[in-house]
């Protein structure tokens, strides 16, 4: 049985940049515990010496020449931004 504490849930939420309420922390605690407990069935399998699969195809590094191509303009890149100024994205203060 997994034993994820509410403190851990809050820590994970912070890593994931999610603001969660006390109630959500409790809900996620219950749900993550049951999903992780379910996932612990994988421990029934002996995977000693088994290579992990990150990718099903036998891909090697795919390289291309570093040549500039036409893509989007600065103006286009900013078009969907919620806030912008003088050709830049604008965000709230970084320093507190």
């Amino acid at each position: 049985m997994a034993d994820i504490t509410k403190e851990q849930v809050k820590h994970v939420a912070n890593l994931a940049r999610l603001a969660i309420t006390e109630e959500e922390a409790e809900m996620f605690q219950g749900q993550l515990n049951s999903i992780i407990s379910f996932a612990e069935q994988l421990n029934e399998l002996d995977t000693e010496g088994v290579e992990p699969t990150t990718h099903v195809l036998d891909l090697k590094n795919v390289l291309r020449k570093d040549e500039p191509k036409e893509w989007i303009t600065q103006e286009e890149a900013l078009k969907n931004a919620p806030d912008k100024k003088d050709g830049h994205y604008r965000v709230p203060s970084i320093l507190e």
């Binding site: 994820i4 851990q8 849930v9 994970v12 939420a13 890593l15 994931a16 940049r17 999610l18 603001a19 969660i20 959500e24 996620f28 749900q31 993550l32 049951s34 999903i35 992780i36 379910f38 996932a39 069935q41 994988l42 421990n43 399998l45 995977t47 088994v50 290579e51 992990p52 699969t53 990150t54 990718h55 099903v56 195809l57 891909l59 795919v62 291309r64 989007i72 286009e76 890149a77 078009k79 969907n80 931004a81 919620p82 806030d83 994205y89 965000v91 709230p92 203060s93 970084i94 320093l95 507190e96």
Partner: protein, 488 residues
Amino acid sequence: MSLFDYTIKELEEKIHNKEVTVEDLVDTSYKRIKEVDGQVHAFLTLNEESAREEAKKLDAAADQTASLFGMPAGIKDNIVTKALRTTCASQFLDNFDDPLYNATVVDKLASQQAVTIGKLNMDEFAMGSSNENSSYTPTRNPWNTDYVPGGSSGGSAASVAAGEVLFSLGSDTGGSIRQPAAFCGVVGLKPTYGRVSRFGLVAFASSLDQIGPITRNVEDNARVLEVIAGIDPMDSTSANVDVPKYTEALTGDVKGLKIAVPKEYLAEGVAPEVKESVLQALKVYESLGATWEEVSLPHSKYAVATYYLLSSSEASANLARFDGVRYGVRSENADNMIDMFKKSRSEGFGEEVKRRIMLGTFALSSGYYDAYYKKAQKVRTLIKNDFDKIFEDYDVVIGPTTPTPAFKVGEKIDDPLTMYANDILTIPVNLAGVPGISLPCGFSEEGLPFGLQIIGKHFDESTVYRAAHAYEQATDHHKKRPQLGGAN
């Protein structure tokens, strides 16, 4: 009878004989949408003005030989369309009205002169099996609107089943094309990983995601895949493997085809009527000269746990890009930048998306990475090896697409694990990276469709299509249409 009861090939002939115009086809789409989409809710955004203009242009064109000339298509809303709103059915992207480019598949459809009718509803960011996770009104099943259409490509499957478009594109990470295709009684293919470019598909789990066609019949499906498949310099995971003429594989001949039927796919948990429909299908194959044997995919039962660890981990990384800076809706209640990230993400993402980000972040976090993420990657190898071994001796693997037909709206939404278990027969296919199709193979007592799943070797969609087509031609399940309001 609707024009969409014809195949692409038949419509092509009608266009060439001047019996039908592209304007007629596009009009058929929008009329039907106006008639039934208030019940089905398959569409999030319509492209009506541009589509009608495009139709006029095509009707006036001298060359009308493109392979999807004038065919009305719906696009799942996680596939980016230039200047056409793309939301992934998320509040977070509610204002993403002006995407800067087309996904490669959208450009490819356009190059063969298909007409984009609109963008299709889905589970938010493709996370879900019922469409109930859409931030907008969830799509309903055209066969019975009390039931879910499946997911996450629920809008893609329902729009084709309801006759709103001739074909659609969906995406499949753990069954998201095949499961809704099964629930809605249409044909949906998840290609081999790397067969179709993912450029412009909003990433959920990059090692599993594939785009594929949803159609009313196998021939149309093969025809659409011919257009969208192939290597793309914009997607380094797209494979440099020749694209065969899939439609030429549809010979109707399956004599000597060797079929493997995994006992795990007909085990406890699979509804008796679903099992029966698959056994009936196997009899059809026998009568056509194919043979089948029971085999085992021993690691199948570990697929759901493996999938949720891996796909959620990848999702937690992929969805980090939604931060309220470059696009999307920004929270107005933040005092500093970190707070802005957190509040925008918390207000923008729905509950299931947050749950998966939390699970994935946990599985990747320090101290747990080896125990969960890496362990799951190793089990993925075992699952892939199961398929490799079977394909040494057999041409295709056949089983049901889902353990049950569509379930009722609200029935499974409160229990994530019950919802996840629904994908037990489709998930292994994504983990192994092989192609799989779902096509109609019968109906429940309530009149809801079942799907037959045919799985093939890497890059052997041709054999999958050949097997699917032979069965389809020998049966008439694909000719039935849901009885929604209005003429069908």
